[in-house]
């Protein structure tokens, strides 16, 4: 097979894995919190920057584990980012969305509040860190060659592995535990859930924690393999939503597949189409797929 094709395929899978992580959070909030959270992308950014702060205090680039660009303390940074971002997510809920829920606001109000929150968060980062790009480690690691001639960076393989573990864990949690079932129940009807003895507020909190944590992971991984910038999340927003919708809102597995499709489409399209159109590719693909399957690949109709 054409080596360029293989190369782009492998790159697509690696990018897709990160998109998938973010898309899961999107899909969760879309179904359980019942609105498309446009602020999700800023959670991604915050996650990345929290890890950056942690890294710059603990000097993580110091002893990288060969062949990666990072060392053991980096895992602590990942954890810190996850916790910090989850707290931030809870805080936005506390300050904004909880009040909206209380006043029975329409779904669009939520979406717009999330737009506003995103604008604030993004520019706070801009004020705090400035617009220049940052890196966890300025060391450049060289790509390694995998037969039959694909070049990948060691960091990316690590990220792919971690993503896989996270996704499987989450899927098991949602499918096999009571908490997961409660989440699906609340997704459909908060009233009926509460009558069935489910504490809807607590489910809501857990949803924020989960999607915030996953967003942070996506942010850190993205920062590790590309770079950190105040608009990084914002630029990821569209791929994230495309992935979540392609997979069918509400389906974790769908979000992962959607993420991979988006990653692959972006990377492979460059072979045939001017890279100028790259950003449009996932959408056009999404359009075609939605035309054939209006609820996404793994989604279900509402009624």
């Amino acid at each position: 097979m054409d080596p360029l094709f293989l190369q782009h395929t492998s790159d697509g899978i690696l990018t897709g894995a990160i998109i998938a992580l973010g898309a899961i959070g999107v899909t969760l909030s879309m179904t359980i919190l019942r609105f498309a959270n446009f602020g999700h992308s800023e959670l991604v950014t915050f996650g990345a920057y929290i890890a950056l702060v942690f890294v710059s205090f603990s000097g993580i680039g110091a002893q990288p584990i060969d062949p990666f660009s990072i060392g053991w303390p980096f895992f602590a940074a990942i954890a810190a980012a996850g916790v910090g971002t989850a707290l931030l997510a809870l805080a936005t809920d506390w300050l904004i969305f909880r009040r909206l829920r209380r006043s029975n606001a329409a779904r669009l109000t939520f979406i717009f509040a999330s737009f506003g929150a995103a604008l604030i968060l993004r520019n706070l980062i801009m004020l705090g860190f400035g617009a220049s790009p940052e890196y966890y480690s300025r060391e450049l690691t060289m790509a390694i060659l995998i037969p039959p001639g694909i070049r990948v960076m060691p960091d990316q393989i690590l990220v792919l592995g971690l993503t896989l573990v996270l996704v499987v864990a989450l899927w098991a949690f949602l499918t096999f535990t009571r908490a997961g079932l409660a989440m699906r129940a609340v997704a459909e009807s908060p009233t009926l859930s509460s009558v069935s003895g489910i504490d809807v507020n607590s489910v809501t909190r857990w949803t924020w924690i989960l999607s915030g944590g996953l967003a942070a992971m996506a942010g850190v991984f993205f920062g590790l393999t590309v770079q950190l910038r105040p608009e990084m999340g914002f630029n990821l927003l569209l791929p994230l939503f495309a992935a979540a919708i392609l997979g069918g809102a509400g389906s974790v597995f769908g979000a992962v597949v959607g993420g991979l499709i988006v990653g692959l489409a972006e990377n492979l399209s460059v072979i045939w189409i001017s890279p100028g159109y790259k950003m449009a590719i996932p959408f056009l693909l999404m359009l075609v797929l939605l035309y054939l399957r209006p609820h996404g690949l793994f989604g279900r109709g509402e009624r």
Binding site: L4, D11, S132, Y135, R151, V226, V270, P275, K278
Partner: protein, 401 residues
């Protein structure tokens, strides 16, 4: 100093080019402060009103309209993107007869507009057109012995024009371009573009972009095993790019800039900049915006107390008269220039970019500087004077398209 004179400014302060714009804005403010320290325009304080265009034409036009109609500015510095400068020129400044001086817009379209007489002569810029940059870079590529160059360029008017001109120049000068790959700003990853550029055998790469995306593209390129023979455009002559990519990979990185010939005025500016911002004066637009502000202020001073945009326009070339009395940068330089004008003498301002001239279309002409990175330092290699540049233009234009 009871009176004030308003000078408008529009730059991109948020968005992708936000941090470039911020540095440019700070430099402009430094120039203003120096002018005020030197006595101001006709004894009046200059009040610099800086507005953000957010990289969007509507916002820029609205800001320009406010500056012109509400703040009554007669001259306007800005803006960065050609796509924003253009509507401001055609629908605000030129119709209102306000002089517009850009530090950073390189598009050839302005030249075209001026030739068609649609700028009314109110358009000036202190940055060379992309053609000049492209030709100088192409010449250096060939001189370095590189014959197969992959071009990665940012998909903006600046990048597209420059890449096109570069390709033309390279062909005319005997080299070859293996791949022309555009990349959009603000992408999640540039891997695909880089891979594509890598897919043909090459011995060098020309990178046209801004430090933010440019750093990432260069990192990917090097990580994936691309050639470390690099040509960079002037925006990448920045510390940010250097530290982000890593000096040890950049020992064969070259570039051009509009000549900041080792003249006293350049040194003076660099010292002032270092003193004020505590970092070396490097980065896109810094030198050109300083000159844009100062030359405009001098023209305002020369035009007289009640100068309108037309009056300022008419003085723009006079304050850099070839046979005038030379004055440089810094408070002292500016004070000298102001006093000389007040005294009625013809002057020649030599700026932070060295000596420069405006041609009939408001374009700046001047020599080109070739630099390279060595051991983590930017080093000046040589200067292509006006004659050399003109010879190159002739060769490029003579070649079949």
């Amino acid at each position: 100093q009871g009176c004030t004179v308003n000078l408008g400014g529009i730059l991109t302060l948020t968005g992708t080019q936000g941090d470039i714009g911020k540095a440019i804005g700070d430099t402009a403010q430094m120039a203003i402060d120096q002018i005020n320290e030197a006595g101001g325009i006709r004894g009046c304080r200059v009040n610099f009103i800086l507005r953000d265009d957010q990289g969007q034409p509507q916002v820029g036009v609205d800001a320009a309209k406010q500056l012109v109609e509400v703040n009554r500015v007669q001259a306007l510095i800005g803006t960065i993107g050609s796509g924003v400068s253009l509507p401001i020129l055609t629908s605000v400044t030129a119709p209102a007869r306000v002089t517009q001086v850009s530090c950073c817009s390189t598009s050839p379209t302005f030249t075209q507009l001026a030739i068609e007489g649609r700028t009314g002569g109110y358009w000036f810029r202190t940055i060379p057109t992309s053609l000049l940059q492209a030709v100088a870079s192409a010449n250096q590529t060939i001189d370095n012995g590189w014959r197969r160059t992959a071009v990665l360029y940012v998909n903006t008017d600046f990048g597209v024009n420059m890449a096109r001109d570069y390709e033309r120049a390279i062909k005319a000068l005997g080299g070859a371009v293996t791949m022309m790959v555009p990349f959009n700003e603000n992408q999640t990853s540039y891997r695909a573009e880089v891979q594509r550029a890598l897919s043909q055998p090459h011995d060098s790469m020309m990178l046209i972009g801004f430090p933010q995306d440019g750093s990432t593209v260069a990192r990917e390129w090097i990580s994936l095993g691309g050639s470390q023979n690099l040509m960079l455009n002037n925006s990448l002559r920045s510390d940010q790019f250097l530290t982000n990519v890593g000096a040890r990979f950049l020992n064969n990185a070259w570039g051009m800039d509009n000549a900041q010939v080792s003249a006293p005025s350049v040194e003076q500016f660099n010292r002032d900049f270092q003193a004020r911002f505590n970092r070396p004066a490097r980065g896109p637009g810094i030198h050109t915006v300083y000159d844009a502000v100062v030359v405009t202020a001098l023209a305002m001073h020369a035009a007289g107390a009640n100068a309108d945009g037309t009056g300022i326009r008419d003085q723009m070339r006079r304050v850099i008269s070839l046979n005038g009395e030379v004055h440089g940068t810094g408070v002292a330089g500016i004070k000298g220039a102001l006093d000389a004008i007040t005294a009625g003498r013809t002057i020649r301002y030599v700026g932070s970019t060295g000596p420069f001239q405006f041609d009939a279309n408001g374009d700046v002409t001047g020599p080109a500087l070739i630099w390279r990175i060595q051991n983590g330092q930017f080093a000046e290699v040589r200067t292509l004077d006006m004659d050399a540049m003109n010879a190159l233009f002739a060769r490029v234009n003579a070649a079949p398209r």
